[in-house]
C-alpha cells in the first residue's frame, strides 16, 4: 500500500478526509486480560471514516485489525474511548439497541463465511429476518440479493454444495439483506484463490460505487484492494498510517 505523502503530513493519523463521518473513533483502546498478562489490542485509536468510503485496514497479524472491526460493528463494547457509528455512541446502547444496530445498520462478512450448514442459501441469507420483525417476505428479499450476487441457480443449495467463492457471495448477500449503510468485511478473501478474491473485491467495489455503501475491509492482501478510497495501517494496536490507498 502506498499512501500519498500529503495525506500523512497534513492530517493527523485517522482524521477525516472530508464529508460526513459515518464512523468516529476517539482514543479507542482495547485490552484483553489484566495485570502482567494483559494484551493491548488497540491503543488510543482515533479515526474518522466518511460515508460512502471504501476503506481498507491493513497490518500484520495481531496488529488489532479485527478488534477494530468488531468495535465498529458493535460486536465488542469492552473498550475505552468513544466509538460513534452511524450516529450511535455504541457503548451507551442497550443490548436491544445494539442488536438492532447490528441488524439494520451493519452487514458483516467473515473470512470463514460462517454459514449455517443445515440451512440452504436462501435461509442463510434471510437469517437476519428472524430478528428484524419486518413485514417484508424474507424469501423474496433473500432471493433478490442472491440474484444480485450471481447465485440465482444456487438458491436451494446447502453450504456444503457450494464452492468457497459461492459461499462468500452467500455471506455477502446475507450482509446486504437488511440494506445496511455499512459493510464490515474481515479478511473476506482470506480463504479464496486469487481469481475468486478478485471477483469478491470487485463486488465490494460495485456495492460501494453504485449503492453508496460504506465498505470497511480488513485484509492481509492489500494489493487486491486497489480501488479503496482510503487505507489505514495498524501496528501493535496503533494507527501508523492513514491516507489515500
Amino acid at each position: 500500500m502506498s499512501f500519498p505523502p500529503s495525506a500523512r503530513k497534513t492530517k493527523p493519523p485517522g482524521a477525516s478526509a472530508g464529508g460526513a463521518a459515518v464512523i468516529q473513533l476517539k482514543k479507542v483502546s482495547r485490552v484483553y486480560g489484566s495485570g502482567e498478562g494483559a494484551t493491548h489490542a488497540l491503543r488510543d485509536v482515533t479515526l474518522d471514516i466518511e460515508a460512502g468510503g471504501f476503506i481498507k485496514i491493513v497490518g500484520t497479524s495481531g496488529s488489532g485489525k479485527t478488534t477494530l472491526l468488531n468495535i465498529i460493528g458493535g460486536l465488542d463494547t469492552s473498550y475505552d474511548g468513544r466509538a460513534v457509528v452511524a450516529g450511535r455512541d455504541l457503548r451507551t446502547l442497550s443490548d436491544r439497541a445494539l442488536s438492532r444496530f447490528r441488524n439494520r445498520a451493519v452487514g458483516f462478512v467473515f473470512q470463514h463465511f460462517h454459514l449455517l450448514d443445515h440451512l440452504d442459501a436462501l435461509q442463510n441469507v434471510a437469517l437476519a429476518s428472524f430478528f428484524s420483525g419486518w413485514k417484508e417476505d424474507p424469501r423474496e428479499r433473500a432471493e433478490e440479493v442472491l440474484v444480485r450476487v450471481g447465485l440465482k441457480d444456487k438458491l436451494r443449495q446447502l453450504p456444503g454444495q457450494l464452492s468457497g467463492g459461492q459461499k462468500q457471495r452467500v455471506a455477502i448477500a446475507r450482509a446486504l439483506y437488511n440494506r445496511p449503510a455499512l459493510i464490515l468485511a474481515d479478511e473476506p478473501t482470506g480463504n479464496l484463490d486469487t481469481r475468486t478474491s478478485g471477483q469478491i473485491i470487485g463486488f465490494f467495489e460495485l456495492l460501494n460505487r453504485e449503492d453508496g455503501i460504506t465498505v470497511v475491509a480488513v485484509t492481509h492482501e492489500e494489493h487486491l484492494f486497489r480501488k479503496a478510497t482510503r487505507g489505514v495501517r495498524l501496528e501493535d494496536g496503533r494507527i501508523v498510517e492513514v491516507g489515500k490507498a
Binding site: S99, R104, L116, F131
Partner: protein, 452 residues
C-alpha cells in the same frame, strides 16, 4: 424476535439436533409416564374410597342425640319434632332429613321352596341368569332377625331406582333399601361362595316380595309385646344412606309401626337427622349451633374416609415424588445436552448476535427448544402412562378375583393428569435448559466469531 420467527427457528434447530434431543428426552418420557401412572392409580383408588366405601357428602352432617355426660349440662336432648324444627331454623340449613329406628325386632323367613314357581320362571328368562342360581334359590332357607329403620324419602329419592320409596297403600309391599356396602359384601363373598344370584341392577326389578314379621324375635321375647305384624317388603334400590346391618323403610311406615306397637312417644323420637347446608362453607357454623343446642355429631364415617384418603394420598404422593425425581434427573441430562449443544454452536450463536439477535433472543431460542423437547417428551410420556393405566386397568379387572368393592376401573383418568404430565415435563426441561441458555446468551459475539 416475533413468536412465529422463534417457532420457525426452534423447529429448524430441533430437526437438526433431534437425535440429541431424543436421547435427552428418554428420561422425561419415563418419568412422566410413571407420574401419570401413579397419579391415575391414586386417583382411581381415592375415587373408590370416597364414592363406594366411605362416601362423603361435602354439605351434609349427621346429628345424633348426645349421650349424657356429667360435665355437660346441655347434654341429653333427644331428637323429636321440636328439635327438627329447631334444626330447620338454624341459619344456612337447607333441609333436614330425619331418621327413625323401628323400635321393635323383626324377622324375615326366606324359604326358597315358598317362592311362587312363576316368579322363578320369570327370573330364569332374564339375560345372564345362571341355572345353578335358580337351584340355589329354590333350596335356600334362611331365618333372620333383622333391624330396620325409616328414612326421609327425599334423602334417597335418587337411590330408589326400581320403585317408589314411600309409605305404601295398606296391603301393598313396603319398599325397602339395602346398604350398598352390605350388597357389595353379599355379592362379592356370600353369594359367590353359596352360588346365589347377585343383587344387582338387572335382578333387583325381578326379585319377589319377601315376608317380614314385625314385632317378632328369634333371640328373645323380652322386647316383643303384643301381636306380630306380618308384612311383605320389596327391594327398590341400594343406598349409602341405608342401614348397614338391616333394611331401610320409608320414614312414615316406621313412624306408623312405632306408634301402633310402642306408642306416640316412639313415633316422635328420631335416632338421627341429616342436616343439609346451603353450602359447605356454612357447615362449621351449623355444627356449632347443633352442639350448642345439646346434640352430637356423628363424624365416624367422615373421619374414616379422611384417614383412608390421607393414606392413599400419602402413598400416591410418595410414588409421584419418585416420578418427579426421575424427571428431575432427566432435567439434569437435558442441561448437560444443552451445554454440549451450546458448546458446539458457539460460532453460530456469535453469528446470530452479529445479524441482530439480542441476548434475550438467544436465551429464548434455547428455552424454546427446551419447551419443544419437554412438550414432545411430556406428550409421549403422558400417552405411554395413559396406555399403561388402561392396560393394567384391563388386566386387573380381568385377572383379579372378585373382592368387596372391586371397582370396574382401578385407575382414574382426570384430564388434569395428562395436562399436568406435559406441564411438568415442560417445566423441568425449561429449568434444566435455563442455566445453559443463560450461558449462551452471555457469550461474547466477537470472541465466538473469531474463535478466541
Amino acid at each position: 424476535m416475533t413468536l412465529s420467527s422463534l417457532g420457525r427457528f426452534v423447529g429448524q434447530d430441533f430437526r437438526r439436533n433431534r437425535r440429541n434431543f431424543v436421547f435427552a428426552a428418554i428420561g422425561i418420557v419415563v418419568g412422566i409416564s410413571s407420574f401419570v401412572f401413579f397419579i391415575g392409580l391414586g386417583s382411581g383408588i381415592q375415587r373408590v374410597v370416597s364414592t363406594e366405601i366411605f362416601p362423603l357428602e361435602a354439605n351434609r352432617i349427621q346429628v345424633v342425640p348426645r349421650m349424657m355426660q356429667f360435665d355437660d349440662a346441655a347434654a341429653g336432648r333427644i331428637i323429636d319434632s321440636a328439635a327438627l324444627d329447631e334444626f330447620a331454623r338454624i341459619p344456612g340449613v337447607a333441609a333436614v332429613y330425619p331418621r327413625m329406628k323401628l323400635d321393635v325386632p323383626s324377622t324375615m323367613a326366606m324359604v326358597g321352596s315358598r317362592i311362587d314357581p312363576e316368579e322363578i320362571e320369570r327370573i330364569s328368562r332374564m339375560p345372564g341368569v345362571r341355572p345353578e342360581w335358580l337351584v340355589a334359590v329354590r333350596d335356600f332357607n334362611s331365618w333372620l332377625e333383622i333391624m330396620a329403620d325409616g328414612l326421609d324419602p327425599r334423602l334417597v329419592e335418587d337411590d330408589a331406582e326400581f320403585g317408589e320409596f314411600r309409605d305404601p297403600e295398606p296391603g301393598r309391599p313396603i319398599p325397602i333399601l339395602l346398604s350398598k356396602r352390605l350388597v357389595e359384601l353379599y355379592n362379592s363373598s356370600f353369594a359367590r361362595s353359596r352360588n346365589l344370584p347377585p343383587v344387582n341392577d338387572i335382578l333387583i326389578p325381578y326379585l319377589p316380595a319377601l315376608p317380614l314379621t314385625v314385632n317378632d324375635s328369634f333371640v328373645s321375647d323380652a322386647q316383643v309385646q303384643g301381636a306380630k305384624v306380618p308384612l311383605r317388603v320389596r327391594l327398590v334400590g341400594t343406598s349409602h344412606h341405608a342401614l348397614l346391618g338391616g333394611i331401610t323403610m320409608p320414614l312414615e311406615t316406621v313412624r306408623k309401626l312405632n306408634r301402633t306397637l310402642r306408642g306416640e312417644r316412639a313415633a316422635d323420637t328420631y335416632d338421627m337427622a341429616v342436616l343439609e347446608a346451603e353450602s359447605s362453607a356454612r357447615l362449621t357454623s351449623i355444627q356449632e349451633a347443633v352442639r350448642a343446642m345439646g346434640f352430637g355429631l356423628d363424624t365416624g364415617q367422615q373421619r374414616m374416609a379422611e384417614s383412608v384418603g390421607f393414606v392413599v394420598t400419602l402413598v400416591t404422593l410418595g410414588f409421584t415424588l419418585i416420578s418427579l425425581v426421575i424427571v428431575g434427573l432427566a432435567a439434569v441430562n437435558i442441561a448437560h445436552t444443552f451445554y454440549m449443544i451450546i458448546s458446539e454452536r458457539r460460532r453460530e450463536i456469535g453469528l446470530l448476535r452479529a445479524v441482530g439477535a439480542t441476548r434475550r433472543d438467544v436465551r429464548a431460542l434455547f428455552l424454546g427448544e427446551a419447551v419443544l423437547v419437554g412438550g414432545l417428551g411430556g406428550v409421549a410420556g403422558a400417552a405411554l402412562g395413559a396406555a399403561a393405566c388402561l392396560a393394567v386397568d384391563w388386566l386387573a379387572v380381568q385377572l383379579l378375583p372378585e373382592f368387596p368393592f372391586k371397582p370396574d376401573r382401578f385407575f382414574g383418568y382426570p384430564w388434569w393428569m395428562l395436562a399436568g404430565g406435559v406441564a411438568v415435563a415442560v417445566l423441568f426441561c425449561v429449568v434444566g435448559a435455563f442455566p445453559p441458555s443463560r450461558r449462551a446468551a452471555g457469550l461474547d459475539p466477537a470472541s465466538t466469531l473469531t474463535g478466541r
